[in-house]
Symmetry: C2
Subunit: 335 residues, 2 copies
DNA sequence: TCGACCGAGTGAATCGTTCCAACTAGTGAG
DNA sequence: CTCACTAGTTGGAACGATTCACTCGGTCGA
């Protein structure tokens, strides 16, 4: 309760508050003797500086806020981890927020970060947040967009070529003999989902008889994958697709659970592919073919672009686009 | 850059700054007419209040900080999710920090939260943080410990009976015919690891010939699990354990990968059990027997205890202990 | 009619830190 | 001996929102 302040430290050390501040923030301006005295006083009183006062005076907060689509998705924890590492090197704490694919949550966190006057924001957007991001920029907060090249001329971004990812999967599935492909994922409003679907469609269009059907799961988690595939299996047997492409691995794992429970052979009766190549895809009941994205590297690069934007807000925006890689496993290729 | 302040809003609305503040924080003190004028002015200027100034004046930060052992572990993301939900209902933002089982990181976050004067801290501790937690408490920050009943008379806590969890696993393994049991996990300094091991040992002591061996993996992730089991398999075949009990599911999944690659039959040659019952344990190549903990519920309860501690710092500390439940799957029981 | 009372609004002080300009004492060049 | 200069230190003014004690009309009960 009785929190020590600079003036208490100053009194104990026999110097002025200004000197204590200098000792803390510009040690070279202070003689070795006083520095030692001040440090001893800080130690004795257990002084911890008040960040609010510090920020108020400084006018800005060194921290960076990050908003991910789904904190339970290993892909995003990897991205966050990459970002956190790089930011830690820059001495910037990372505040992590989870939008859980809900626009309302997303806006809540954006407002929070705005009120906190954070130096920058990393965001994988759900809804249409461009207006809010512009506001942030007006307020002097730099923004880097992850996983989506939106507002391309306004904000730097880090993304993966999702169309190509979709193409790679479709190419492989068709090569393995599949013609009727069901793409499952959602909500359909998510850029990632649309792009992966689009890439799939484009590849299918080049092969006679190849068709693509999209089933919106509503969300990108295991439960949604289960429900959707459950409904799919209720169709007459001859209307089943030959392959299911889940737009992320959580959905794919949910799909696999249902297929296994229903006794459907994978890949014999239905092939299954996922996206993100999270660690658990490879160690699933039947290892799942998936599209690898360099998640940690993406986080690190996002943090790096943010660093540049913070240092020079007027600099040109940059877009880093990573290339996806197909990891073929049992779920699509009988051995 | 040109950030609007209360006084700008006040000027535009034709009232005093004090009134704007009242309109924002105590709307009932202000007439409907002025409230409307103020809101219009806020809208027009895009005013966002400065949290630092607000906190400085208020003397405290409504937010709550949380430090988890491993943000990549679904168990912890579930706990965090439960806590976040409950805190959101209380109007408190959650700042999430990841100690990644490193004491240094842990202390960094604790210092950050202390400087921010957060209202409370939820922590799953790695190192010996009791002194630092006492400091926080002195500074008026309430603390609730997760997953460990330490400093039992000083801080409220939420935990699971880890000894019993260990016992349950050992009981089942012995029942299935195993005698030589290897417990893998680490670092050994982690309370959870020690307790689970202890429970295992206690159960083994009651059966003739049952032995328990502990192998420290150094960390609780998949890679560490792989390495440790790799080394284990290098022993002469007749020195292999009959069962491996991994102290969390990530380690178990790593173990399973190595066993599969080496062509070791599970559970035929070696049985395998994990802990936490994360979703991926059930959908692994060979579904893994695991100990379920009510993760989301634990997070929610931790947040609730914290709420109580914040409201009445002098109140008696409380400990909620949940009971673990064994989920038997293929990895320990041939069908 | 008078005073008590009430709702609405305000001026000024305040939170704890940092920064700027100013000051002091000591040093060394001319 | 004087003056310019430096290293070290300091008083006091910010930063932006909130709050407290207070004012000002107006209403109501006696």
């Amino acid at each position: 309760m009785a929190m020590a302040q600079v003036r208490d430290v100053a009194a104990l050390a026999g110097v002025s508050p200004a000197t204590v501040s200098n000792a803390l923030n510009h040690p070279h301006r202070v003689s070795a003797r006083t520095l030692a005295k001040v440090q001893a006083a800080i130690e004795e009183l257990g002084y911890v500086r008040n960040d609010a006062a510090r920020q108020l005076r400084a006018g800005s907060n060194p921290a960076v806020g990050m908003i991910v689509l789904d904190a339970a998705n290993p892909y995003f924890t990897d991205v966050a981890h990459g970002a956190e590492q790089h930011l830690a090197e820059l001495g910037r704490p990372l505040l992590l927020g989870n939008s859980a694919q809900r626009e309302e949550q997303e806006l809540t966190y954006l407002r929070l970060f705005d009120e906190q006057r954070v130096a920058g924001v990393l965001i994988a957007p759900v809804g249409d947040v461009l207006p809010k991001l512009r506001t942030l920029k007006d307020h002097g907060t730099s923004v880097v967009i992850i996983d989506r090249k939106a507002g391309a001329d306004e904000f730097s971004s880090v993304s993966v070529n999702d169309e190509q990812g979709g193409w790679l999967v479709a190419d492989h599935l068709i090569d393995q003999g599949a013609r009727r492909i069901a793409v499952i994922g959602g909500p359909g409003s998510l850029r990632q989902v649309r792009h992966r679907l689009h890439g799939t469609q484009q590849r299918a269009d080049r092969t006679d008889g190849a068709t693509v059907e999209f089933l919106d799961t509503g969300a990108m988690d295991t439960a949604s994958g289960r429900e959707t595939v459950q409904r799919l299996l209720e169709r007459p047997r001859d209307e089943w697709p030959e392959a299911i492409f889940a737009t992320n691995d959580l959905v794919a794992l949910g799909a696999l659970q249902v297929l296994a429970r229903a006794g459907v052979e994978v890949p014999g009766e239905i092939m299954l592919a996922g996206y993100d190549d999270i660690e658990f895809a490879a160690s699933a009941t039947i290892p799942i073919t998936s599209v690898r994205q360099p998640s940690e590297e993406m986080g690190r690069q996002a943090a790096e672009l943010l660093r540049q934007a913070i240092e020079d807000p007027a600099a040109a925006v940059q877009h880093t686009v990573f290339q996806p890689e197909l990891m073929v496993r049992e779920s699509t290729s009988a051995h």
